[in-house]
């Protein structure tokens, strides 16, 4: 137990270090970007109207003060860390003066909802079918599914999404093609709103399932193919244990462990959003927010989203590493 505590503490310190380095890299990259948020705002503000050129410099100065971009780079960096420690990323520069945390808070439920459900569903279905395909190797249906999964897996996500959009949004328009819910439906826990959200999530969800399923399927099938040749499985078969029991208690249970790790990491990635999914389907999640932030040179927003993502992924890996020794007898803490 003491060995485990030592391991857990060391692993936690490692987690903190990874988060610290990750956020610093994000900070350096966002501040090295050639997009100047002040210049971007000035350009947008003066793009259409008749602005006397001599007025622009004072506009720039006002914006720097407004955005808190005055002061030396070191002061700005220290201020950033002071705020990050209390989960405050400051105001968004492209949606000033809205706090970044408000924007992220509004977008996260959409992304976590969609990607969380999609990740768990693809994981369950992919592993289930992959496990069956690996065990019942002669089943034609499962072989057929394997061929389909192998064909779909390398397909670029964007193509799959566009195909679904054309099929279900245009040729046979039965699913909404954009947004998170229907216009003019009040938000809340009413069945009408929930149903509207579910409907709007169906196309993005289907596209994620279509492309994501193959990976889990192929992985699980390979794992099961290896496990079925193990001595204890052969022994169980010779001992007359039923096939279903062998599959569930001996094969799947031992093959699933690496897939659980994969699931945890995938769930961690939920916090970074699915950029392409959200762009293609106009989904109001964190991925769209990140892309908008990048285009507008909005450091605060980009840093906020990447920080959430870094913490999310690192935390998922940490949790897995801490749980693994407790659930897998083959892993020991020496």
């Amino acid at each position: 137990m003491r060995a485990y505590a030592r391991y857990a503490f060391g692993r936690f310190l490692q987690f903190l270090l990874v988060v610290f380095i990750g956020i610093n890299i994000a900070y350096i990259i966002t501040h090295a970007t050639p997009i100047d948020p002040v210049e971007h705002t000035v350009s947008v503000a003066t793009a259409f109207g008749h602005t006397a050129p001599e007025a622009i410099e004072s506009m720039r100065q006002s914006l720097r003060e407004l955005y808190g971009l005055t002061g030396s780079p070191i002061e700005q960096y220290l201020n950033f860390w002071r705020r990050v420690l209390v989960a405050d990323f400051g105001p968004s520069l492209s949606a000033f003066p809205s706090p970044v945390s408000t924007l992220i808070g509004r977008a996260i439920p959409w992304t976590v909802g969609l990607l969380g459900v999609a990740t768990i569903l693809t994981w369950i279905i992919g592993n289930l079918l992959g496990g069956l395909a690996g065990y019942y190797r002669r089943s034609r249906i499962l072989k057929g599914f394997g061929i389909v999964a192998m064909a779909l897996h390398p397909m670029p996500y964007y193509i799959a999404a566009i195909l679904l959009l054309i099929v279900f949004g245009y040729l046979w328009p039965i699913l909404p093609i954009s947004g998170g819910s229907q216009m003019n439906v009040a938000r809340g826990w009413s069945s009408e709103y929930i149903l509207s959200v579910v409907r709007h999530s169906m196309l993005p969800l289907l596209s994620l399932l279509l492309v994501g399923l193959g990976g889990w399927f192929v992985g699980m099938r390979s794992l099961v193919s290896n496990v079925v040749t193990e001595d204890y499985v052969v022994y169980a078969e010779l001992a007359g244990v039923s096939k279903r029991r062998i599959l569930t208690a001996y094969v799947m249970r031992n093959a699933i462990a690496p897939q659980v790790t994969g699931l945890a990491i995938s769930l961690g990635h939920v916090f970074s959003g699915a950029l392409i999914t959200e762009r293609v389907f106009g989904y109001p999640g964190i991925g769209s927010l990140l892309v908008d932030g990048v285009h507008a040179g909005d450091y605060s927003l980009v840093l906020g989203v990447t920080t959430v993502s870094i913490v999310g992924v690192s935390l998922a890996v940490l949790v897995i590493d801490l749980i693994y020794p407790l659930i897998d007898p083959r892993v020991t803490v020496s």
Partner: protein
Amino acid sequence: MKSAARWLAAGVLAGSTFWGLIQPANAQGIPKDIPRNQLLILENPEGTVKNAAWFNIWAINANSQSNGLQQAALDTLWYIDPNSGIDGVWDNSLASEKPVYNANFTEMRVKLRRGIYWSDGVEFTSADVKFTVDMMVKTPGMRWSAVLANAVETVETPDAETVIFKLKRPNSRFHSLFTVRWNAIWIAPKHIFEKAEDPNKFAFEKPVSLSAYVLHSHDPDGKWYIWQRRSDWQRTSLARFGEPAPRYLAYVDPGPPDKRVIAQMNKELDVVHDIAPEGMFTLARQNPTSKAWFKGFPFGHPDPTLPSAIFNTQLDMFKNKDVRWALTLLVDIKAVSMASYRGAATISPIHVPPTGRHPETYHLAMQDWLADFEIDTGKRKIKPYDRTMARQIADSLRPSMGNQIPSDPKDIAKAFGTGWWKPDPQAATELLERAGFRKQGNQWLKPDGTPFVIRVVVEGDARPIMTRAGSMIAQSWRQFGIDARVDVAAGTLLTRRAAGDFDVILSWSVETWGGHQDLSFFMDSWHSAYVAPPGQSQPSRNWQRWSHPELDKIIEQIRGIDFDDPKGIELGKEFVKLATREMPVIPLMSYNVFTVADETYWTGFPTADNPYANPVPNWGNSRYMFVKIKPKQ
């Protein structure tokens, strides 16, 4: 058996759930509980608005403007339509007459309309105008603070319908700040904003309106905004033209161009703001109710904006006009038109957009001058202008597009423009050699012996038409032996353009009113006083950083005459001649916007045959559509 039954039941349940979810899904793209025949759905090209509940358009980071706020809810003193207007291009909106200046343009007097009310029942008066200006002058960092602080000494309001602006220096174009082209300084409600502690941080979450519509509801995530016609719409300036027909307006983010096409075909988007030419052709072919500006090819609405290949004239290699002209004579405008707009471009050989009232004033009126215009290459004199260029484009399209392509010269001029500069590689060679450049093998070298390299900056996927034009121009130069490279500045174009971080950039530094021949809208900012030194940020719009003593003279003369003075047109022509001789940017074409209106529910949208308003739905003056369209069902 039991297990089979269980599987069957589960399948039936899953199937029926799925079926329930997709019925009636094709109505999901329209607002619930709003009759479709009372609703006009328009695209907001800003996309999804991050700061959805922010309606303070006077703050520097106004966030969203074209979510219906400036088109349906706000108003200001005057409007100029880029086309012909309902009752002439000039509209006295909140003002009851045109601005009246004193003799030396240091004072502007405005008479306001009476009987105009904010949507909360408070009467609009001169106090609102004065408050709007004072608020921005007193609060640095607001959107028009700097402009107004630089220009305005005081604002006086002797009575409820009179406003007198005392200016710090003579300015015959001061009224243009309050004249809508795309936008202008909108009048703020004094009774609301005077309670705001910091006007820059006041969200104005429940906007009161001064125009015919008021906010009904909006998406907290910023994907849609619904505006409802005011019950007292008669107490707004728009009422002079009748009742706005749609009871509701929805400004939506329909997503990328392919989805806009699908949405319009599904009858979920009445007005598309812009799509790629290919999307336009698809709608024209497959959706009979889709109507664009032109009945047939080239379809798009020509904005009074001039996409150009802009030289950075502060670079040594572009300081000599011979070099700029040489590069112009290597451009094949027909190839650029095909590459960018698939032929659906309205070309312009001069530095004025070929739109609105400009063709009659400049393009057509100056045909003879252009035809006689000569360039001395050092070895001979050439007349580079070809007045048949637009006709050649039309002729090349006719075999594939049939009778969609006009054959009447007037219609061709309206749709495709007039002439352009003939490609002349021999003359380009002579001009470059005269400028000290030389060719070694297949590679042109600069006078200092280094390779002649040009980075052509384009915006990438965000602006495919300009990107394709830039790529075609770079290819023409490359074929001639110049090392021209396309440099994609996705997301950084605005910053790089202002910083002068380009050799040539595909953008525009020329924008005009369109409906009025005055060119000061862009030209004033081309004065040498505003040219930033190399390395410093350039204020809009002289991105080419070009200056010329003759141009300064023209600008200063324009500043000293009235907006409507016919002398302005003569000075405009002087500018055209100077810019043609100097070629600081290569003018290409108007910005043709593929705005498409679907006539399933509404008819009477503005078109080239009935150009009473600008149909492009993010422009402030698109509001005139609301009183002219009629319900179809």
